[in-house]
Amino acid sequence: MNYDNVTNLMAKFVDGEDNVSGIAELAYFIPYSWIEDMKDIDPEATTAEGVVTITGNHVLKAGKAPIEIQPLFEKSGSTFAMEGEVLSGIFNTGAEFFLPNINAGNLGTARAIKNYRGIFLIRRIGQNAGFYQIGSKDIAGYIRNAEGGLGVGPTGEVGVKFTAGAYGIAPYFLYMGELPAPAGG
């Protein structure tokens, strides 16, 4: 994609918007193989917003629902950084989801999702529509690490921390399509 047709490139500060650090305590992982029709950005986009925004709907295969992750706000988040050579960089975007529970459900989920490629959907605090998407049609996201344990002593940390991430041509994609919540959600 070439950006010569993009007419409104500008990095600006917007007054008066919520701008809280951290991610909301709701995130999803959707394996590639569960998606019937995965949407991407419009290759003809002519706005700065358009080159990162996915407006179509990811359609899941029959009977499939996103895998819900409920990260603890205080110990979860997402960052990105550029990697690569001069003028040929790529974004490495990561997310950490900490769940302060060691139970069969979380352990089973850790066991299962570590070998799937897919996309992660996360939200900022106060965000009610759409998601920030990590991973895309081009480059999959996956669980890069899962660590944790039962803690050590009275002040130890109990739980599971999933480290997720993906390389991408954009720091994040904005998924503005619709998505059904999992039945329990």
Partner: protein, 69 residues
């Protein structure tokens, strides 16, 4: 299609039916909605933006019998 174990909002009954999901929560293009409490205005807006989770209910036309003089 699995039967829903919850009741769709009465506000959209007769106008829309919920399809392709068994979850009462939908992350829609206008924001998160609870399909148990959704208003008709919200449903109309979601439908107008394109959704695969709401289907318009077609009203059956009743053929009028010709009047007998």
């Amino acid at each position: 299609m699995a039967k829903l174990d919850w009741v769709v909002s009465p506000a959209i009954a007769g106008h829309y039916k919920v399809v392709n999901t068994t979850s009462p929560i939908l992350h829609s293009k206008i924001g998160d909605v609870d399909l148990r409490k959704i208003s008709l205005d919200q449903a109309n807006e979601i439908y107008s933006k394109g959704t695969m989770y709401l289907e318009k209910v077609r009203l059956k036309r009743i053929k009028e019998k010709p009047a007998i003089d």
